[in-house]
Assembly symmetry: C2
Homo-oligomer: 602 residues x 2
């Protein structure tokens, strides 16, 4: 959203605060070289009761549609974006998602036919408030007469576009921010037509804080004396001041506070100076003035009002139940991505989506990408590189790294009955779930916090969710899985009791495998050396920096189960040192270094 900067030559241009509408409208000012246009005859009924006589849709495409029309990907842009998502050739202007889209790139245009339309209500080719009302005589622009639109309307026009291209279903619908809203609404409205929904840096609805910023931005535009209730096209003056202020505010919300420090602190008191009606006392002010003014040369104030209102009106619900209702008809595979420092569309909102989807049993993969870049991260190359692997995985570029199962994992496989559903908590790179998939299980979900493991698991074609087990398992409903597996992870969790409660709630059975901290070698070491015990394998950590959080023996875990009314249905013990099983009558609490327990409520 703010991927252009002072380096841009536009920075040097002294922009007046008014432009002549008759010679300089938005579509002719910045023609999109590669955009195609298609017109849909009306009347076209809109969601909130308005209608449009006809609609023009501008769009760009990359790659070729295959014979069975099954390789189309729809890319949806954010509020100030347009159809130019990527370069069409080496000499072309940069697109806003060049890093992702192109031959051999994560959205590989050698394989896929990619379409990016300009949104309804916009000002870069698709019908919006700055367009002439069809049939008006003398020709008159919509201005304030442009009907109020919703994300549903934006998507409905895209549906018409897809139909006209003969595309019944998209391999994927992908977008960030407002583009993510479109991807979700696509999946909800046309469940048969979306195979994979990829929604990045988005939310089921705006926070009240984000709404507040949009309200202030629209107020700045609509109280600009040149706004004239939206009928400014016939005037020499445009509401550029209000639009610039709206854009300044937007820019602040797209960046994190940390990113702003890094960007503006080096020359905090030494701003660049250029002719502007806006304050430039601080470098951040100079930047905002530049961005605000530049925006007015390429964007229409009425479009900003119309699109931001469409975004603000989106409301898929605030409670889990409302969200589950919204997503109930979804038939696609979902990939949801958030960014740790995004405070406009905070990760919590993506988690709300994920938890609703996952409670519905819909296939979903979720990652919170760690970054300082804020909301803008979805457009920034280094962050794209962090999440691109997940997109590749969802688009079928799979790898299946060969990593053999441990003894404990093989024992877990034994315990899981055929065809059952499995939730693997702390699934690592997903090799246990992969083995289950190979055995024919298909309701499989992994939970993992380590980002590289998450990508590796996704690349095995697994659905895996970025999730801290210390928060319990709110993403899952009662009895959702036949088996919940906690394999080699118990000792890394602090909130043991609540996790046990949650596993019992979510799984019909629970399988826990863990290292036994009363293993003979440890007892001997402790008693003989009088030191925090160490042994080979899982026990080979120093007291002062072990990643382990809890140190239970088999007896400890059995005691806790007993205390909590949990029955141990089956048990397998190993001495992995000697690579043999330890019988239950052979004092496993002393002789086994690993336990696998099958648990269920008594």
């Amino acid at each position: 959203m703010c991927n252009d900067d002072f380096t841009n030559p536009l920075f040097l241009i002294n922009m007046s605060s008014s432009r002549n509408a008759s010679t300089d409208d938005f579509r002719s000012a910045a023609p999109l070289r590669h955009a195609k246009e298609i017109q849909f005859a009306g009347p076209i009924e809109l969601e909130l009761g308005g209608q449009l006589e006809s609609v023009t849709c501008a769009y760009e495409t990359w790659g070729s549609l295959n014979k069975d029309r099954s390789n189309a990907i729809l890319v949806c842009h954010a509020i100030s974006g347009d159809s130019h998502a990527a370069k069409h050739d080496a000499d072309d202007d940069p697109g806003w998602w060049d890093r992702l889209i192109g031959p051999g790139k994560p959205i590989d245009t050698n394989r896929f036919f990619v379409i990016c339309p300009n949104v309804l209500g916009g000002c870069r080719g698709t019908t919006g408030p700055s367009d002439v009302i069809p049939g008006s005589n003398p020709p008159q622009r919509y201005g304030a007469q442009f009907p109020r639109i919703t994300i549903g309307d934006i998507v409905m026009i895209q549906r018409l576009l897809a139909d006209s291209l003969g595309i019944e279903a998209f391999r994927a619908v992908i977008g960030g921010s407002l583009g993510g809203h479109q991807a979700m609404i696509w999946s909800i409205r046309y469940p048969q037509s979306v195979q994979t929904c990829i929604a990045i840096a988005t939310s089921p609805r705006l926070t009240n804080q984000a709404l507040g910023f949009d309200v202030v931005a629209r107020n700045a535009i609509q109280t600009d004396p040149n706004f004239c209730d939206g009928q400014y096209y016939d005037s020499d003056l445009r509401p550029d001041t209000g639009l610039a202020i709206a854009r300044m505010l937007g820019h602040i919300t797209y960046l994190s506070s940390q990113a702003m420090e890094a960007k503006f602190d080096p020359d905090r008191h030494d701003p660049r100076q250029f002719a502007s009606i806006f304050e430039q006392r601080f470098s951040v002010g100079s930047y905002l003035a530049h961005q605000g003014e530049k925006f007015t040369t390429r964007f229409d104030a009425n479009s900003y009002v119309a699109i931001s209102m469409a975004m603000d009106l989106l409301d898929l619900g605030s409670s889990r139940l409302q969200l589950m209702e919204s997503f109930d008809d979804l038939r696609c595979d979902c990939l949801i991505i958030s960014f740790s420092s995004d405070w406009l569309f905070p990760p919590r909102q993506s988690q709300d989506i994920v938890e609703a989807l996952s409670a519905l049993g819909k296939p979903v993969t979720y990652a919170e990408i760690t970054t300082d870049a804020g909301h803008d991260a979805f457009l920034i190359d280094k962050d794209i590189d962090q999440y691109a692997g997940l997109i590749e995985a969802k688009l079928g570029t799979l790898s299946d790294p060969d990593s053999p199962l441990t003894l404990a994992e093989e024992a877990i496989l034994e315990m899981v009955s055929p065809d059952s559903s499995v939730l693997d908590l702390g699934c690592g790179d997903g090799r246990l779930l992969s083995a289950l998939a190979a055995r024919g299980h298909n309701r499989l979900v992994g939970v993992e916090v380590a980002q590289d493991d998450l990508v590796r698991a996704a690349k095995r074609g697994l659905n895996v969710i970025d999730y801290d087990l210390n928060q319990g398992l709110p993403a899952f409903i009662d009895g959702q899985f036949d088996y919940v597996v906690l394999s080699g992870t118990l000792q890394a969790v602090a909130n043991i009791e609540s996790l046990f409660d949650e596993m019992m709630r979510v799984g019909k059975h629970t399988i826990v495998s863990f290292p036994n901290f009363a293993y003979r070698a440890l007892r001997e070491d402790y008693v003989m050396r009088g030191r925090s015990p160490k042994a080979n394998g899982a026990f080979n950590f120093d007291w002062f920096n072990t990643p382990n959080r809890r140190f239970p023996s088999i007896a400890d875990v059995c005691d806790l189960c007993d205390q909590k009314g949990i029955a141990i249905k089956s048990e397998i013990y190993f001495d992995s040192e000697s690579n043999r099983r330890v019988s239950a009558i052979d004092d496993p609490n002393l002789n086994a270094d690993t336990a696998i327990l099958l648990l269920s409520p008594t």
Copy 2:
């Protein structure tokens, strides 16, 4: 900052967007009933080169100045505040800090003489842009001719006021947000005149994000066509639209996102409607419109520009060294308070202040108050109740709860040589430091994260800092203390190695007392029961919810010291079960449950 709400009857008033300046200026529109005025003849030279012919200062007072004029407290208001900090009698209008200031309250007007002046540049009695230029004929208001002011200038006028009242030194200077900036500048400029500086929800300078918001707010005001370069007083029209937009933006930044959800979500799509030029589609919009318009009835746009710019220009430095330079001359005791959800003046900025003060060896107490209220918390009763105890403590309302020392603490006292300086990490309620203070030590600092312990320690008159030991000890410089004490806290820290490094860096000696997890009772319990060992006292926790993070034996700690080149200079061991010391030749690693080691680098 936004402690008024829809319940306010003003909400029902339909405000026009222009008012007549000649009949309705700010001082006459809202006279402050209890304000006194004093005039200072000029010329008064300002920090950035401007000058004022004369300055009127409006202020309110509570309580009586005592004979030796030693009981005066200066209270400084925030950007949109005024001199009416508290009620003067039961029938009086509410003040913005009624909860804190009054007879028997934390700032007790039975004991103290409290003064709150309106700031220079304001519009509630003290000279500002809306005032008539002295001697101008015909009378003319400053408007844009009002010189640029700084926090230093605001404070300089307060200094003149203090002088005129015969007050050489304040018992305390107290303020939140911009008020905190004033308190700090007082302490820096007039070090002899401030006994205690209490700076709440403040910062050494604004973040670039906060600067950005201020820039946008000023742009909204200054591009309002009615602003007329600040010379609007003779016009029928005022830049109320721009000022209202600035205020809306301010309100969003004063609240946390969580607070906005709680406040606006119940009626998100069902806003109150009232006549306004601003959008009211969402409840948050309706609220912002109300707050924005109401603000224009009591505040002058030029004042908003002048004061916000003064705040933005404040820059005590960004690096530790710059901050240390800024605070070098301070001679007061400091209390710094931040709020966990304040993203406008985030806790990190208060920590920067605290770390610089503490590196300079200045007495400072710091608390980060846990709250959802955002920046506004400093004005909210329930949050005031959380921090009021700290203010009482700093103003000398001390309690000294009688809590006897443990054996380990008594042993630590033995190890500390007379008159030495001590840093107590995890100081709890401060009883060890209290005992040292009673023994005559005076360079004593405590570190604690538990909020109630922090207040208890402050109430003993101790300087105590809210601090997570896992972050190391960046608040302290090399060799700053004769002794660093870590008493009964080692087992609760995760980052042991870096903490050891830091203790060695900061202290000439380090004293570590800790429970011995190889104590005989534990070994026996573990070996015999095959369970995570438990014993009485410090060892009586279950494996699955112990607050302990690390479980070292005496031998473990000694090994680590050896490994890190740390010498053990002295050692005391106890068996607290039998209440006796254990000799070093009597295998303390087996027989003692508590160790106290005096360490220093070899």
